[in-house]
């Protein structure tokens, strides 16, 4: 049950800040620019510049760094794993040796670079989801996708699916917790046994969860029809997205930084 509480996915933290008030499209595009730049950089100084840019954004967003860094926890293992693999598996000048394991200078540099890359990547996307409400995020995605609608991408439907999925994550988590507690009260045990038994022990959670998820989906579909939902055609929006000067300035600044670091570093 502890595990369920620690998921920070999509945990929007409302604050009154510049980052929060930016247009979601601008934030998504800025993140995209930074991510692309991250994969083009080959020098530490580049990461330093992008890293400090993100850190400054975090400070401006008024979201406590604690929440931003919490997003790192799940992938910390992956970062350490890649670092270790790179340390030991790269050929080059040996700087330290224990038995058959040797650390090379090239490995150290490459490992650190990739760790920084992953680190900043997660910080960037965490900041995006922490400072943008799921609704405006999907709104932004919908508008961005509708630019390339001519390719046949069903922008509205994708956005609607994302909105519904995001909306129901907390509901399903709550439900899972409730069912788990109910089954524990009946004598179920989710914490001991080998992996096969543990998997088998999940059945009493999964079946009720699926039953209720299908029921919810059914009810939602009926409720949407009752409200005359007919897809995206001709649908207007309650929140109209408008791009103002600050948005343009932010995007330009991010783009300039991203382009400069990817070319120069």
């Amino acid at each position: 049950m502890r595990i369920l509480r620690n998921i920070s996915f999509g945990q929007y933290i409302p604050r009154d800040s510049l980052v929060h008030s930016l247009d979601p499209r601008i934030k998504i595009l800025s993140c995209l620019a930074i991510i692309i730049a991250l994969f083009l950089i080959v020098k530490f100084s580049g990461y330093l510049i992008l890293g400090s840019y993100i850190l400054i954004s975090i400070i401006i967003s008024k979201v406590h760094p604690k929440y931003v860094f919490r997003g790192l926890r799940p992938i910390l293992f992956i970062i350490i794993f890649t670092l270790i693999i790179h340390l030991f598996m790269t050929e080059g000048k040996v700087i330290y040796q224990v038995g058959f394991l040797k650390i090379t200078q090239e490995g150290l540099i490459k490992g650190l670079l990739i760790s920084f890359r992953l680190f900043i990547l997660i910080l960037t996307t965490s900041l995006l989801t922490l400072a943008t409400s799921p609704i405006s995020l999907t709104d932004g995605i919908e508008r961005l996708l509708s630019i390339i609608k001519f390719t046949g991408i069903p922008a509205h439907e994708i956005a609607m699916m994302m909105t519904i999925a995001l909306r129901f994550i907390p509901t399903l988590l709550e439900e899972t917790e409730k069912i788990m507690k109910a089954q524990i009260s009946r004598g179920a045990d989710f914490e001991s046994g080998n992996i096969f038994n543990r998997a088998k022990n999940l059945i009493p959670i999964l079946i009720p969860l699926f039953v209720s998820a299908f029921r919810r989906a059914d009810e939602l579909a009926i409720a949407m029809e009752a409200k005359c939902y007919r897809g995206g055609e001709g649908r207007t929006h309650y929140r109209e997205l408008k791009i103002n000067q600050i948005d343009i300035l932010t995007l330009s600044l991010t783009m300039v930084i991203a382009i400069i670091v990817s070319i120069m570093f």
């Binding site: 933290i13 409730k178 109910a182 009260s185 045990d189 009493p204 009720p208 039953v211 209720s212």
Partner: protein, 284 residues
């Protein structure tokens, strides 16, 4: 003494921005075989409180003793505690998952490691307790039942572990009046025949007050009133209304009579009691 709570406090999401204090300094003693109604407004902490009784939640501070054992010390066998205290959640029909009703009810005893013949005996016994015919129901799918029947099967699936205490969270929610009366009378029978202690959790005084012997009223994470239903309706009627819990209609009627200057006893719970009380006072 069966359950003993000492200065129990509980805070949700401790150290997070959404931190909320749900239970505040709760002291409570519950004896073996008691029949208790735990009543309070939605969100007052009833459900949170009962989840402490079998160790599903760990208090932020304070202690819980079940059968003399402090259940939150390391090494306590919580499975044993959960066998003693059967907790039936709200809408328990949502927890059903087996292919047949027999398997559903056998789940608990099976987890206790009982041999098959004992399990069958318990399934028969549990089905009988909730007034369902073994031959007719045992091999059916629990998902083919009506809402009321599903709830009874879910109740039976807890009864089959033979708890010493049964805690039911809103057992009558979403049932029609007849289904509600059936469930309540089955619970009463279980209490009377097996000496099982029962805690009925509800936000609705009506009906529950008739059944139970002791009422705990919760408000904003505290137990504010503790007494017999008669006592509570007679002496604490204004408090109950103040915390947003109405009185049963018949009790309210008696209070109104009293306000009009008739000297009637206001601690009545049923229409029959009210009738005889009024007749008694009229004759004088």
């Amino acid at each position: 003494m069966f359950i003993y709570l000492e200065n129990l406090c509980f805070t949700y999401s401790l150290g997070m921005p959404f931190e909320t204090e749900v239970l505040k300094n709760i002291d409570l003693k519950i004896d073996q075989g008691e029949f208790i109604g735990l009543i309070g407004h939605t969100g007052c902490g009833k459900t949170t409180l009962i989840q402490h009784f079998n160790g599903l939640l760990t208090p932020t501070s304070g202690k819980i003793y079940v059968d003399g054992v402090d259940i939150n010390t390391k090494g306590t066998n919580l499975k044993l505690i959960r066998q003693k205290i059967g907790l039936v959640f709200q809408y328990p029909e949502n927890q059903l998952f087996e292919e047949t009703i027999y398997q559903e009810i056998a789940f608990g005893p099976r987890k206790l490691g009982l041999p098959e013949e004992k399990i069958e005996k318990r399934v028969r016994e549990a089905l009988k307790m909730v007034d369902l015919d073994y031959e007719f129901y045992a091999e059916r799918s629990p998902f083919s039942l009506s809402g009321g029947e599903m709830r009874r099967v879910a109740l039976a699936s807890i009864l089959s572990i033979r708890p010493k205490m049964l805690i039911l969270d809103e057992p009558t929610a979403n049932l029609d009046p007849q289904g509600r009366d059936n469930i309540l009378s089955e619970i009463k029978k279980i209490h009377d025949n097996f000496g099982t202690a029962v805690i009925l959790v509800s936000h609705n005084m009506e009906k529950v007050a008739e059944t139970v012997k002791r009422v705990l009223v919760m408000h904003r994470g505290e137990i504010i009133i503790d007494g017999t239903p008669q006592d509570i309706f007679e002496k604490h009627a204004t408090d109950l209304i103040k915390v947003g819990l109405g009185l049963p209609q018949v009790t309210e009627c008696m209070h109104k009579l009293k306000a009009k200057g008739k000297d009637v006893y206001t601690g009545v719970l049923t229409v029959d009691e009210a009738e005889s009380e009024i007749l008694k006072k009229c004759k004088i």
